[in-house]
Structure formats: C-alpha cells, structure tokens
C-alpha cells in the first residue's frame, strides 16, 4: 500500500527513545505579536534526551499547583542556545498563566513525545508543500528547517497580527503564500483556497503535503486529493498513551493522537 511506502521512507519511530520529564528554567518569555508569545526555557540538565524532531511535542506544566492540573501539549518549535523554545497562543487557563512566566521561573516538561513528520525520501523528487493555520506554524517551523528551504509554505491566520515570524519564514521557504481572514496580510480568505488555486495548473502527485492547523483546515486539505501528512490537535491528559483521552477517528478505529500521532497519514484520519 502507498501509505506504507510513504511511512517507510520516514524516520523510524521505533528507534525513538523514551521521553523524559525534566525541569527547565525560563530564560525569556516574549510577545511576538497579538496573542502569540515565545517561551524559552533551558533544561536544568542542560540537554535533551532524545533530541526532538519536527512534528513532536512536549507536555508543559507551569508548576505543581493543581489548577491548572494537567500539563498542556506544545509542539517542538525550535531549540536555540540550549533553550527549548515554544511558540504559543493565549487561548485559555494555562496559556494565560504562561504569559506571566518570567526569567528564572521553573517549568516542568515531558518530552519529546509523539511521532515526527516523516521526511520525504530525498531520491523521490516529490516537492514538499507545507500548510499551516494559526499556531500550527509552530509545528511546521522545524520541518521547514529540516526541508532546507525547499518547501513551499501556505500560511493562514486571522489577521496580520496572527501571522507571525513571516520575515524569518520567507528565508526558510522557496515560496511563501499568506492568507488572512480579514485580508490584512496576503490573500483575503482561507489558506486552503490559495492552495486549491496553486494546484490549478500542477500535478498533485508531484507533491508531498504537510499540514498543521485547525480541524476545519485539515479537513479541507485532506479533501483535496493530495498525499501527505497532517498533524492533528486533540485535547490531551497524559501525552504518553495511557489515558486514551486523545482519541482521533481513523479508518482503523480510534487512535491516540499522542502516541500513534500527532502526525498521521492524510488518508488515515476520518473527519466528521
């Protein structure tokens, strides 16, 4: 089956070492724009075991206070100068409190967790095409780095404010297509419309797609007859596969986003 052949071209997930729970010290916590922030935290051990891969995620806990109770999942965004960086958007209880973290504060991190994006087999001559919606950009950021500037990026958000790091992204991609709901940056409308337009004169099978963003966007991307991977978001309790809370519907029944995902083959996921 094709799915399997794509998978086999990928990083072998069986060799990924178990994740670790570690404490980290906040180095910086800066506002990027609008409701987007970057948190930088250095593991107290000084290193990561194992090194995170694009598409993986970490569970982040503010402290051991019981409200919020559970850790929250955040994509591996990047590591710089020994610090783990997380790009996050304020949406609720935990992210609101994250904003208040300051240099020297301690956080507790579990990870890296989950399966990374399978990289295209380099001999295969498939053009990588990345689609990101909203904070989904965090997930594909290290992927773009791994793809070494070869990818075309389609990036959509609510407004200019919510399209972050665009200058940097420009330099990391072969083409950058922006879209915003209010038209304040790039195309006015859904990023998937830009994508559909892009394929008007192209052969879909020449491409391999990577997508991360809200469910609506993922559903649209998966409905376009393309091949590739999506990274899905589902609420998580444990992040390590023991609670079965993060179930996502697939052709072969419910799968755990944290363990069998968060990266799934586009063909696998069933959207309702």
């Amino acid at each position: 089956m094709n799915t399997r052949s794509l998978r086999s071209a990928s990083t072998d997930t069986d060799t990924i070492q178990p994740a670790h729970l570690f404490k980290a010290r906040v180095k910086e916590n800066i506002k990027v724009s609008g409701r987007f922030y970057i948190l930088k935290a250095t593991p107290e051990t000084g290193f990561f075991v194992p090194a995170p891969l694009p598409g993986q995620f970490f569970m982040l806990g503010l402290d051991r206070r019981k409200d919020p109770l559970l850790k929250r999942p955040f994509c591996y965004f990047r590591v710089r100068d020994g610090a783990l960086e997380i790009l996050y958007r304020i949406v609720g209880k935990a992210t609101f409190l994250m904003r208040e973290l300051r240099e020297g504060d301690r956080v507790e991190v579990l990870g890296p967790l989950g399966n990374p994006y399978p990289l295209p087999g380099w001999g295969k001559h498939k053009k990588p095409l990345v689609v990101a919606g909203g904070v989904g950009i965090a997930s594909v950021f290290p992927l773009l780095e791994a793809l070494k500037g070869k990818a075309v990026l389609f990036y959509g958000g609510r407004s200019r404010d919510e399209l972050v790091l665009t200058d940097e992204l420009q330099g990391m991609t072969s083409e950058l297509h922006l879209a915003s709901d209010d038209g304040s940056a790039g195309f006015k409308g859904a990023v998937t419309d830009v994508l559909a337009d892009y394929f008007k004169d192209k052969k879909k099978s020449d491409f391999i797609i990577y997508a991360c963003g809200p469910n609506g966007m993922l559903k649209a991307v998966c409905g376009m007859g393309l091949r590739g991977y999506i990274s899905s978001e589902e609420k998580m309790a444990c992040g390590i596969g023991v609670c079965l809370g993060c179930a996502i519907k697939t052709r072969s029944g419910f799968k755990r986003t944290c363990k069998e995902g968060p990266v799934f083959d586009m063909d696998e996921v069933v959207f309702e």
Binding site: L21, R64, L69, E108, A237, I240, C243, F254
Partner: protein, 312 residues
C-alpha cells in the same frame, strides 16, 4: 540506602496477595503497563492494575473524551480496550515479562454472564481480578450493577464462584447513597477486598459553542478535586468491613496516600496524577517512606485505620 539504615516494612496483604508496598496504579491510568515501563521500573510498584477489559474489544466513546475542571478532569473513554483475547495473548505476557509484582486485571461486562466469563478466563492468569461495577462511561452494565444493591449482590456472589485462584476485588461506585452498605454486601458475598472510588459522574459545558465539553455529555470526575469525597467514602467503607479496602481518588502525593491509609485503606492506587507525571506512583511511595521516617513508623500496618476520630 536510607532503607537499610532505617528498615521499614511497607508490605501489605490483600487477600492472599502479598504486596511489597501499598502503591498500585489505578485502572485505566496505566494502560497495560507498556508505556509506563519506559519511564520507570514498574516492578517497584506494590501491584499493577491494568486498564479495564471486556470480552470483545470495545472501540470506546467518540471524542472529545476528556476535559479539565478545577483541580480535576472529566473523562469518558468508554472503556476502549483490546478485548479479552488480545489481552491474554499480547498485553498480559508483556506486563508479566516487565515486572515481577502482582498484576490485577480490571473487568467490565454488560451482563452477569459476561463478568463471569471474564473472571473464569482470567482466574489464575493474574494475581487479582478487580470487578468494575462503577464505570460511569458505558451504557449498559457498569454502574447499573454498582447502584442496585440486589443486582450488585447477585453479581458479586455469582462471579465469586468463578474466581478460585486469583484475589477478587470489587470496585465500588461513589454514586451509592450509602457506600458502607455496598462494601458490606461485597464482603458478605465473599469478595476478598473492595476498592474505591471510581470517578464521579460530572459535566462541563463550553459556553461559546453551548455544547458539552465531553461528547457523551456526562463523564467521570477524577483528580485532587474528589479527594475529600473519596477519603470520606474510604473511611466509611473501612469502618464497615473487615476485608481490606483499596483507596483511590485524587492521590498525588505521599501525604495524600497517608491520609487514605489513616482513614482505613490497606493499599492505595494512583490514577490521574500519572497523567501529570508518569512516575507519580513512585513519588507517592517515596512520600510514604519519608513520612514513616519522620514519624518513626516501622510498618505501614501501624498506620492502617490509624486516624484518631473517636472523640467527636
């Protein structure tokens, strides 16, 4: 090293089962031991309680299945599980290979017959069988047995006959109006131990979409929020029965565990805390040991039911 200087006896007994310490995983929060054994040596536990299983594989409830609440969480997994066959063929051998401590299976059926069949198939294969009659997340069976005293007594009595080699534990429902009555009924029907509490039916609504945050509308509340309720029920159950009580509900620290033991629990299970920290059960164990050192307690047995509550 500390333990050699200051030898403490952590051993407890549940029926014929000897646990080297009173810490268990709570069913449904440790899978079948596979994932956790990547984080720590699960042989350090007193016993391993596995995710509930049914005769046939169940696909579980549609997402969203979990949501956080103040100091707690609601879940409605709906007993997604691999079914008895795969359990016996794949899951059980793995956990037995990974550990040398008692393994407790947790079973759930739609009918008395299903419970009995599960019990027969598992008898002797695992050290303990926990009869879950208190799952709030499945339509049939489950909680129905846990809240109807007649059906409960009949079920426990019937399944008792099918468990000859393993230790039989009955997991009580916190929905019972009088928990002591159910604990007593379990004892009378021959259960070797009771465990409590399971999650408490609960609900949360997303006010923006006006939809429940759990697809199945009602799920089960667990975590620190329910600890005071669980502790009260363990206290009430332990005073009612002679068989051991396994306490659970919101235990996240050694202090919490000591509270349950003082209230009358012989052993305790760590559930939701595992989601925050996979090694939570071991941290709880270390916390108990520290408490015993500080207070000069030589054996866990000294603590069981040791709360001073006479004089009120």
């Amino acid at each position: 090293m500390r333990s050699s200087l200051n030898k403490k006896n952590l051993e407890v007994k549940i029926g014929g089962m000897r646990l080297k310490n009173p810490i268990m995983t709570a069913s449904g929060t440790a899978g079948y031991g596979e994932e956790l054994s990547a984080f720590y040596d699960i042989s350090r536990l007193g016993a391993i309680v596995l995710k509930g299983i049914s005769l046939k594989p169940w696909q579980g409830n549609p997402p969203p299945r979990i949501t956080e609440t103040p100091c707690g969480m609601i879940n409605s997994i709906g007993l997604q599980n691999v079914g008895l066959k795969t359990f016996l063929k794949e899951k059980l051998p793995f956990v037995k290979k990974k550990s040398d401590v008692p393994v407790i299976a947790n079973i759930l059926g739609n009918t008395t017959g299903e419970y009995a069949k599960l019990a027969r198939s598992l008898d002797g294969e695992v050290e303990g069988i926990e009869i879950n009659v208190s799952c709030p997340n499945v339509k049939k069976g489950g909680m129905a047995f846990g809240l109807d005293k007649k059906a409960f007594g009949k079920l426990v009595g019937r399944v008792r006959g099918d468990i000859k080699k393993s230790v039989m534990i009955v997991k009580l429902s916190p929905g019972a109006q009088d928990i002591a009555e159910f604990a007593l009924a379990a004892q009378e029907e021959g259960a070797d131990a009771v465990s409590l509490i399971n999650t408490i039916p609960a609900m949360a609504i997303d006010i923006n979409t006006r939809r429940p945050l759990i697809k199945n509308v009602i799920g089960g509340l667990s975590g620190p929020a329910i600890k005071p309720i669980a502790l009260r029920m363990v206290y009430q159950a332990a005073r009612a029965v002679k068989i051991p009580v396994i306490g659970m509900g919101g235990i996240t620290t050694g202090q919490d565990a000591v509270e349950f033991i003082l209230a009358g629990a012989t052993a305790v299970a760590v559930g939701t805390a595992t989601f925050i920290n996979p090694s939570a059960p071991l941290e709880v164990l270390e916390g108990i040991e520290a408490y015993m050192s500080i207070h000069g307690v030589k054996g866990v047995a000294e603590l069981i039911g040791g709360a001073v509550t006479g004089c009120s």
